[in-house]
Subunit: 359 residues, 2 copies
């Protein structure tokens, strides 16, 4: 597919030259051409001069080339995320971009700030501007309103020859023409809770996320199943709902300590929440993992940057994004979308924040 | 201005109701309506029912409302960033979004991956889709190619009634119709180097960023000016160029230690690079700040999450984004843009990673 497209481009007029043509003619790699043009990495003056000479010769980086890259001004994929500063969503967006770029397509990202009116406005905008697919990512409330809204998006996008793709959101009824790319959220929470139980922990404070949101309720279900496998049941005192913000993780742990809730481990609903919990544990004079073990969820780069390095659940955000883009772009343009549901795996990444409970 | 717009909306037909109308009619705050609709926070069943009843009554979250939010399908601001997973760019994008949203405008974000061809394709796409302004953020190479490319963008956007806004990039010649929103990069590097010098450090390893990029060369200039104020000059051994990646910070410090370069402080060109440097110092058995002091640049949330908490230079990324959006949106539509250049301040944030050098 990609090969065919390149072949076509090479056969076209000289003004449609690509970065590959420049690389071939200059006898260097595509990456080198890109570096010279971006000035983003040191290259020798000689190499730079050679590449720039070829660029001028083949008239690369012209509007004509830019247009062919942009699919003649056609927007290929639009992605909506709740908050652009959230690392997990950003990595999913990067996966979408990479997959789309490898197919010669452009991606635009919009934030909804969790405001349904803004979400609806964005979906309309994307449809009117001719996006080939609209990808929504992030947990959703269990409300019937959400399912109805999504069904409305799916129908209006399909009517316009576009597609709706949901990531990490509850699948829609089978009659709704949408693709869902999900990750094994319940399995990840089950695996991490089992990891803590097998280290000897019996009182695990869980901060599953926002109450009423699918992301949190599914994580709580995994936690519950793991406890039940040990013949235990959930203690309401040990479940604290929070948003996915740093300050909320700190607050939840501080309040649990103040209320005298006993626990030897904290299972945070995100790595950012775990960072907040770590701060609160430290402020209370508790060492991690000697006094209290700590686990996160997401496996964003922050997990590696905390001290101790955070044991967490890996969610394949980039792969979720790549799969979403692939499934969206592999559909025949204009074909009414069938219903499709894909689930990717999660796993525990063991680092240094979990140890057996103190005697 | 905003007041006028609300007044107009209230005077319009019922189907143009806004979230404010719903809040007023239900006797709750706008935030509460948003929460009920998003399902993002727990609210009482009674409150939820009331809000949803009013929503149905005023037919809120209809396509009509969505369209008015989207400016009748018109894209207001398009922002291009190098890498969507970079926290500093994401915070600038959030500032743009917030300012645009407060004016009833939508923002879309695209990544260029530092590929000039993709950048050009994106700018074309944005222009063709009628973006009112295109904001580019991130350092640029000193190459004449860059200035020429930007002048080309500015002219083609202006011809289409749109505007070019550059953030954290070198200003263009006065005849080019573009807005530049910059931050005092040199002053930030000067202030941090002075902070390290006044703590007693004389051998400061600096990792200013990518060679040939303005961001790095300006930081190096601030470092140089601070040393000169102490009657010192730059030692080439103490300057190591890196990309802004974690692994590059670790590599640079590891190699400096292997080469036997003596230093008592590291001034990293970003907080992410500082996190990598911290890891390399630790692996070499060096304590921060007892054996080696460490400073960053950016002041993203990561700085607070490192142990020790990172002393760094605060760059007002959100404010840069807000200013860029404000300046772009305050221009009269269709008016040929004048040249404008704004510079925002930076300052040192003292945390726990800098101490006097060991005896």
């Amino acid at each position: 597919m990609t090969g065919d497209r390149n072949h076509e481009a090479n056969g076209a007029k000289a003004r449609r030259s690509t970065i590959r043509d420049v690389a071939a003619q200059a006898g260097v790699s595509v990456a080198t051409v890109s570096r010279v043009l971006a000035g983003s990495h040191p290259v020798s003056e000689q190499l730079r001069a050679k590449v720039l000479r070829v660029v001028r010769e083949v008239d690369y980086v012209t509007n004509a080339h830019a247009k062919s890259l942009a699919g003649a001004g056609q927007l290929s994929i639009a992605m909506l995320i709740g908050d652009i500063t959230g690392a997990s969503f950003a990595h999913a967006a990067k996966g979408v971009e990479q997959e789309a770029a490898s197919r010669g397509s452009l991606t635009l990202v919009g934030s909804t700030d969790l405001d349904p009116a803004r979400e609806a406005a964005m979906v309309n905008l994307m449809r009117e501007q001719g996006a080939g697919a609209v990808i929504l990512i992030g947990g959703a409330s269990d409300l019937a309103e959400h399912q109805q809204r999504m069904a409305r998006y799916a129908k209006s996008l399909n009517a316009a020859g576009s597609h709706l793709v949901l990531c990490g959101r509850p699948p829609l009824p089978p009659e709704v023409p949408a693709i869902t790319v999900d990750y094994d959220n319940e399995g990840g929470a089950f695996a991490m809770t089992s990891h803590l139980l097998s280290a000897g922990h019996r009182r695990i404070l869980i901060l599953p996320g926002v109450e009423g949101y699918t992301t949190a309720s599914i994580r709580l279900a995994g936690y519950t199943r793991a406890l039940e496998a040990y013949g235990m049941s959930v203690e309401p005192d040990l479940v604290v709902h929070t948003t996915y913000e740093y300050g909320e993780g700190a607050r939840a742990v501080r309040q649990a300590l103040e209320r005298g809730v006993e626990f030897t481990a904290v299972f945070a609903g995100s790595d950012v929440v775990a960072a907040g919990a770590l701060e609160a544990l430290r402020s209370a004079g508790l060492r991690v993992p000697e006094d209290v073990s700590l686990a996160g969820y997401d496996d964003i780069p922050l997990a590696r940057d905390l001290t101790p390095k955070l044991t967490t659940v890996h969610v394949p955000y980039e792969e979720i994004g790549r799969s979403a883009a692939r499934l969206a772009l592999e559909r025949e343009p204009g074909v009414r979308g069938e219903h499709k549901h894909v689930v990717l795996g999660t796993h525990v990444v063991v680092r240094q924040s979990v140890a057996p409970p103190p005697r």
